[in-house]
Subunit: 304 residues, 4 copies
C-alpha cells in the first residue's frame, strides 16, 4: 500500500534530476514557470489522497485536457460516429505532424495527438452551447475543487502561436473532417489546455478511470467498458511518440502535458499525478516520468 | 474462472465469422491452409489447459515467433545493447514498410515489425551457433511438446518470396545496423516463422508471460521485470498497425501471426491462444480477435 | 515558320481528343465551363500573332498567374531574399501537398506549386499597396489588352474552397515563412488565378520570355539573365508533377493552369498559348498538350 | 565561338574554388583522388575539340554512365516497354532514397537516380550477353578512344559498399520490377560507374546529343527525336536534387557524377565536359558547375 513515506522517498530520489530537462518554451507564458517544482499525489482505491512535494501547486494541464475532452465527446456522440472521425492507433510521428494526417485523408490517428484533440473539440463545439464553461464544470466535479480556473494569459499566448494548429484544422477541413469555424474551435481548445490544476486535483479527477467509470463524488462518468477503452487508448497513445518507452518503464496507462504534468492509472488500485516542468526530448516531464517509474517499482504495481 | 463451457460458447459464437476474412496468400504454402479452422486454448494461473475447437491442430506460427526471438535476445544481450539496435515504439506504419526505417536511420521501431525481428535475428546469428535448432529447443521446452517442428516447405516458400525482407535487411546494413550475411539470417528467420504449433502448444508456451517470467516447467526464462517489459511491448506494438484497436477491444498484451494465430496474456491470470486462418484487413485473425474480445467480456478480464 | 494553315491543322488534329479528359470540378464556377473549347495562338519573333479555333475566347488563367506573380516579385525583391523564401527545384509531389513542405521547414520547392505561389503572394502583399490592381495593370500591359478583368465569381468560389490553401499558408507561418494575414493574401491570390485571358492575350503576354525580357510594347520587364532563369524554372517546374513528361514530349518551358490553358516559349523564336478545358490525370490540358506536341514536331522547334 | 583563350580564362577563374568542396568519400577508392584537379573540354558543332587544365586526365565517370546505359536500353527496347519500368519525372528526393520508390510501387522516378539506373541495368542484363564489354565498346566508339577501361579497384570498392543499392534492387524486385539476379546486375552497374574517361573523351562522347543523335564517327546512335528526349530528361532530372538550380544557373541539359565530372550540351552547338573532384552539398562538382556557369555567361549560350 502506498503511504506518505513512500511518496516522500520517491520525491526525494527524483529531486536531483531537476536541471537536466528543459521547460517548454514555445509560448512565453509557459516558459516563465519556475523549473524547480516537483510534486506527486496519489488517490487510492478507497478515495484517500496522499501527496508529497509541490502537489498542491496548480499548473497548466495542457494536453492532459485531451482526456477530459474525449470523455465529454464519448457522452455526447455514438461510439461509431466518434471513431469515424478519429482513430485509435498510435501515430508513430511527432504530436503535431501533418504528414500522416495528409496520407490518411484528414482522419487523425488518435484523440491524444493535436489533430485528434482538435477534431474532438470541433465535435464538442457542434453539440455544446458553452464548451469552455462546460469543461470547467467537468473538471471541478471530477476533482471536487470548485476553484479551478483557466489561465487566460496562457490561453491567449497559445492562440497567438497557433499557426501550426490552424494548419492542422484547415487540412482536416479540406478533407471534410472539420465542421465549425477554425478560430472558434481553437479558442475553446486553448482554453481547455490552459486550465490550471494541481497534482492533488488531477489525481482525484482521474480516479474514475481507476474506478470503472465512477468518479470520487459517486457519479458514473462513463460505463465500465468505456473506462477500459479509455485506459487502453492511454496505454497505446497517451505519451505522444514515447508510449512504448513509457509502457516499458512505467507500465500504466497515462497522459502527459507540456506543462510538466503526467497522470496515470492502475485500474482497480489507484490514480496518480506527478508534476515537474522540465521535459525530456519527447516532451514528457523528466522527473515526473522517473517518479512514476519508481512508484511502479516500489509498489510492484503495473498493468503488465 | 474460465471453464470448458465458456470456451465452447465463445468458439460457437465466433464460428459464423468464418468466410468473412481472407487467408494470407502472399506465399503459396500458406494459401493452401483450410480456411474453416477455429480453435481456442487457455492456460490458467495454476497451469491447467482448457481448449475448444481445433485447438490441437498445429499451424504456422509466423510472426508469433518474433516474441520467442526477442526472449532469446534478451537473455543473450545486455539491455542497453539490445535496445540501441531496435526501438520500443509503435510504428504507425504497415509491418513491412521501409519509409520509417530510412527516416530513422536503419533502427527499426520495435522488435515485432519485420525490420525489428530481422535485426533481432541478426543479433541471434552473431551469438548462437545453431539458431534454428536453439529456437526449436526453446519452443519445445516452453510448451512441453517435444514434437514441434518447422515446416520446411513453408520456410522455403517464404525464402522464395523474400525480396522485400531482403530490401529491409540491406537497408539496415547500409546504416550499419545489420552485421551478418543477409541470406543466412533470412533463412533462420523464415525457419522460425515456419514453426508449427497448436493453440494448446502456444497457450502453454506463453504461460511464462502470465507467470512473472517462469515457464510451466518451472524454469525462469526471464526476470519478473523483463516479463513486464515484454508484456508492455506486446500491448503497444504486438498487433502491427492494429495495436490500438486490439487494446480497445480486447485489452490484453498479444501477438498475432499471418498464419491466423493470436496469443495473449492477462498477467497473473492466464495465457490464451486463438487460431483461425482468415485475416482482417490489418492482417490479424478475424474470428480469433472476436474470440479474444468475447473472452475478455465474459471473464471481465483485461489489463485495463 | 508557323503560319495559319499550320495552326489550323494542329487544331483539327487535336479536336478528336475532346471528350477524353475531365474539366476541373473542384470549384463549381470552373466546372461550368463548356468542355468542347479548343484554341491555339502563337506570337512570333517579330511580334505577329496567329491563331486558330477559340483563340479569342477568354478563360480562367488559374496557375498561369503564378508566372506573373513571380515576375512582379523578381522586380520588387533582391534575388537572394526572394530565393531564400522559395526554392528552385521540382517538387516530385502533387501541387498542393503539405508533406514536403513540412519536411523542408516551410520553404516551398518552387514558385509554381501552390505553396510557392502563396509565399510569393505574401511577399507581394508586403510591398504592394493594391496587389490585385497592380496585377491587372501588369497583364494588361504585357498583352496590350486593356479589357482584361478578374472573374469575381470564380475568385469567390476559390475562396470558399480554400481550406487546403489555408492549411499551406498556416504551415508556412508556423515556420516563419509567411508574414501577412492569411485571408488577405489568399484573396489576392485567388483574384490573380481568376483573371480571364484568351490564348491571344496570353501568347502576347508571354512574348517577353521569348524576347530576352522585353515585352511586345517594348518595355523591359526583366533582364535577359532573369528571362533565362524564368524559362529554366518553367522547364523544370512549370507543369506540376508532369514537367519531365512535358519536356520529353514538347520540349518547351511552359506553364499550365487547371482552367485548361498552357503557355509555352521557344526562346528567341515564339511564345504560344493553347487552351482546352478538359484535363489529363496530371491536371494539364489534354488536347492542349497534344497541340503543343504537334507544334514542336511540325516546326522542328524545341529547346532540346 | 568558344576558343582556347575562353576556356583557359574560365579554368583560371574557377581555380580558386578548389578547397571549398569535398571529395566523395563513401568508397575508399574514390576518396584517394587528388582534390586539386580542374579540367574543361568542349566539342564544337563541327567536331573540333578544345580543352584547358587537366582535360586529358581520366577520372571515374560514375553516374555519367547512366546516360550511356539509357542510350543502350533505348536501342534495345520499345519506347513503351522502357518507360513502363522507369518514369520521366524529377524525383524531388536524394538520389538513393527508398521512400518514393516504395510509395510509387517500385517504379523509379527517372533513369538518372540510382533506382532508375539499376532497373535500366536489369533490362540490359536481360538482352545483352556481355553487358560490361558492350558498354566499353559503346563509350570507345562514342569518344573515338580505344583505350578506355574500367577501374576494377573502384568497381570492387563500390560493390563492397553496395548495401543501399541492394536494398533498392530488392525493393523493386518485391514489386515485380527487377527480373535478374541482384548481384549480377549490380556488378555490371558498378563496372559501368567505374569506367575512366577524360573531359576530352566525354565531351566527344556526348557530341551526338548536340548533333541530333549522330556521333562524331558519323554513326546514328539514336533518332533525332530520341536525342531531344534524352536532352529533355537530362534537363529535368540530370543533376539529382539540384536540377532546378543547375537549369537556373547554367541552362544546359547535363549529367553529373560523384567522380567530379559533369557533361552538358547545347543542342546544335556544342557538348562540354568539366571535371573537378570536390563536390558541393548536392553531390555535384563545385568548380565544375562554376565553369559551366561561366561558359554559359561568356558564350551567351543556354537553351533558355
Amino acid at each position: 500500500m502506498p503511504d506518505l513515506a513512500l511518496l516522500q522517498g520517491i520525491h526525494d530520489e527524483a529531486l536531483p534530476l531537476i536541471g537536466q530537462g528543459r521547460v517548454a518554451d514555445y509560448i512565453p507564458a509557459l516558459a516563465g514557470v519556475p523549473a524547480n517544482r516537483l510534486g506527486i499525489a496519489i488517490c487510492t482505491a478507497d478515495g484517500e489522497l496522499l501527496g508529497a512535494g509541490d502537489y498542491l501547486d496548480p499548473f497548466s494541464i495542457q494536453s492532459i485536457s485531451k482526456v477530459f475532452s474525449l470523455i465529454q465527446a464519448m457522452s455526447l456522440y455514438e461510439e461509431q460516429e466518434l471513431w469515424s472521425r478519429v482513430g485509435k492507433e498510435p501515430s508513430g510521428n511527432p504530436f503535431n505532424s501533418l504528414v500522416q494526417l495528409e496520407f490518411e485523408h484528414g482522419i487523425p490517428r488518435n484523440p491524444f495527438i493535436n489533430a485528434g484533440a482538435l477534431v474532438v473539440s470541433d465535435m464538442l463545439q457542434g453539440r455544446l452551447s458553452a464548451p469552455k464553461h462546460r469543461m470547467l464544470e467537468l473538471v471541478r466535479e471530477l476533482s471536487g475543487n470548485q476553484h479551478i480556473v483557466c489561465d487566460k494569459v496562457v490561453a491567449r499566448s497559445e492562440y497567438e502561436h497557433s499557426a501550426r494548429n490552424a494548419a492542422i484544422c484547415y487540412l482536416m477541413k479540406s478533407f471534410g473532417n472539420f465542421h465549425n469555424d477554425v478560430d472558434g474551435v481553437m479558442k475553446s481548445y486553448f482554453n481547455h489546455c490552459a486550465i490550471r490544476m494541481s497534482c492533488a486535483d488531477l489525481a482525484r479527477a482521474f480516479f474514475f478511470l481507476a474506478n470503472k467509470g465512477v468518479c470520487l463524488g459517486g457519479r458514473r462518468m462513463i460505463s465500465e467498458r468505456q473506462s477500459r477503452q479509455v485506459n487502453a487508448l492511454l496505454a497505446t497513445c497517451g505519451l505522444y511518440d514515447g508510449a512504448g518507452e513509457f509502457a516499458y518503464r512505467v507500465g500504466m496507462p497515462g497522459k502527459s502535458g507540456v506543462g510538466g504534468g503526467i497522470v496515470a492509472v492502475v485500474p482497480g488500485e489507484l490514480s496518480v499525478c506527478v508534476w515537474s516542468p522540465e521535459l525530456d526530448p519527447s516532451g514528457n516531464s523528466l522527473a515526473g516520468t522517473r517518479m512514476l517509474e519508481l512508484l511502479a517499482k516500489r509498489l510492484g504495481r503495473s498493468i503488465f
